[in-house]
């Protein structure tokens, strides 16, 4: 026979107070796991990269509303407003030039062989502001190797989509469309160079360069070309959009360098978005240890 008796100990009595105070953390963790699950992204892949910074990350809202993406307008709020006009599915990338396996690949085929990882990188804009962004993606080198670049491939160039119907900013000639960027082959093959497909555990929003963008954290942000449709291996240093627009201001290398000023402003300090006081800008955006050797013997004042 079952005799119901009230327990003389309540949950209160058996729960350590410190643990009780953290009761909401459990929910947060649970929520976090649910979020990661919802993103369709395997948990194991978010393993922390040795290249990631542990600095405080810039809020998602700031990363997705404060953008330079002139294809959608020159105001920083324009991309968030108009980028939904861009259709990112279907998407394909044409790979060509000095390589053994050129071709036009559907986005799915570009992504298939690569497992995604998270890289928390500093991003320094040439205008003097910076963010810390948790990107998702894979190393650029892993992608480029698949096309088997030949010995003639000294540089790799990238192009963004051109379609004024999807990108209203392209109706005006503020830059030479398509937006074009490039890297020296050794820069492109460097383990820090990254192809991003997402941030904060989700797919990239269009204003951040969906579905596929470059991230080169030791260079000014404009080198990290967005919404890529073309990759070419070339022998000569390729032209870049900003280089064509103002050759005296935006060089091919455009490495973050506090010692070399932009002609119209100092690059010695930067405002980290969300912070009040400016902070010192670091050589190669703080990645000198990893990348300084790429430029040994080069005059960085000339090769700005």
């Amino acid at each position: 026979m079952l005799i119901k008796r009230p327990f003389d100990l309540t949950d209160n009595d058996v729960t350590d107070y410190a643990l009780y105070q953290r009761r909401r953390d459990f929910l947060k963790t649970l929520g976090g796991i649910a979020l990661i699950g919802a993103s369709g992204f395997p948990l194991s892949a978010t393993a922390k990269s040795a290249f990631s910074t542990d600095e405080e990350q810039t809020p998602f809202d700031d990363i997705t509303t404060y953008n330079n993406f002139y294809e959608f307008g020159t105001d920083k709020s324009d991309p968030a407003r108009y980028a939904s006009m861009m259709k990112t599915s279907p998407w394909s990338v044409t790979v060509g030039g000095e390589c053994a396996k050129p071709g036009k690949l559907a986005l799915e085929d570009i992504l298939k062989p690569h497992s995604k990882e998270e890289r928390i990188y500093r991003l320094r804009c040439v205008e003097g502001w910076s963010m810390v962004i948790p990107w998702l993606g894979f190393p650029l080198a892993d992608l480029l190797k698949r096309f088997e670049p030949t010995s003639k491939a000294k540089y790799v160039s990238f192009e963004t989509l051109v379609d004024p119907k999807q990108m209203p900013g392209q109706a005006r000639n503020v830059l030479d469309w398509p937006y074009a960027e490039g890297l020296r082959m050794d820069e492109a093959m460097h383990p820090l160079s990254f192809m991003a497909t997402g941030l904060y555990g989700k797919d990239l929003l269009n204003q951040n360069g969906a579905p596929l963008r470059l991230v080169v954290p030791w260079k000014y942000g404009f080198k990290s070309i967005k919404s890529i449709v073309k990759i070419s291996f070339v022998e000569e240093q390729p032209d870049t959009s900003w280089g064509r627009s103002a050759p005296g201001e935006y060089g091919f290398y455009s490495n973050v360098n506090p010692e070399v000023d932009h002609p119209r402003w100092s690059q010695r300090r930067e405002r980290r978005i969300g912070e009040f006081r400016k902070r010192e800008t670091l050589m190669f955006n703080g990645y000198a240890e990893q990348v300084a050797s790429l430029y040994s013997g080069m005059d960085l004042r000339k090769n700005y």
């Binding site: 404060y66 627009s245 103002a246």
Partner: protein, 214 residues
């Protein structure tokens, strides 16, 4: 020119209502910025938003100040001239706030960096120069100064022309290359029209004397 423009505002309505309303409207941009700070709606880089907004309002008030005498000549609306000092002082007011926002919010009184900026960055150099030129105009805007300086006052206050040109140049040179000069271009065109009208009168004196038939 028609001496009596149809929409002259009768006294005491001009002094008691119209002028105070313009005054209140002129404070509105500042109030909206304050509200933006309070409600955190100024975007990811509020300091940039504040500095730029204050700078643009400085230019707008300078152009409005220049517009009043053009308007008088073009339409015969003489009353506008009585707003000129107030709008000119608002230009200075927003100019001071713009400068403060740069010195304090942006540079946090890092004088070495500020000096470097003034000497090395042409756009800061011309902006500072414009502010320096604006200061004596604000300081001599009260009645006693006008009386005391007499005809020198008039000459001193022609500084508004070069300083507004410098202000627009300051805005123009801030923009990246050719990509972002569209808005500064609007200011440049408006200023060109306002200065062009003055040059026109100066070069074609008979334009002043022969009554315009409408």
């Amino acid at each position: 020119m028609c001496a009596q423009f149809p929409v002259q505002i009768r006294e005491p309505y001009f002094t008691k209502i119209f002028k105070p309303v313009v005054f209140a409207l002129a404070l509105l941009p500042l109030a909206l910025l304050g509200l933006g700070v309070w409600q955190d709606t100024l975007g990811a880089n509020p300091i940039e938003t504040i500095t730029r907004s204050l700078g643009e309002w400085t230019l707008r008030f300078l152009l409005l100040t220049l517009l009043l005498s053009t308007l008088r000549r073009a339409t015969g609306w003489v009353q506008g001239i009585r707003l000129r000092r107030m709008l000119g002082l608002f230009a200075f007011f927003y100019g001071v706030l713009h400068l403060l926002s740069y010195l304090w919010l942006d540079q946090f009184f890092d004088w070495a960096e500020i000096w470097y900026d003034i000497v090395e960055r042409p756009f800061i150099t011309v902006g500072m120069l414009a502010f320096v030129l604006m200061t004596p105009l604000a300081l001599t805007s009260f009645k006693a100064a006008i009386r005391k300086l007499g005809r020198h006052w008039q000459r001193l206050h022609t500084l508004i022309y070069p300083l507004t040109v410098l202000g627009v140049l300051h805005f123009w040179w801030l923009a990246d290359s050719k990509a972002r000069t569209e808005v500064p271009l609007i200011y440049a065109v408006l200023l060109a029209v306002l200065l062009g009208e003055r040059l026109w009168r100066w070069f074609v004196p008979r334009f002043n004397k022969i009554p315009v038939t409408r």
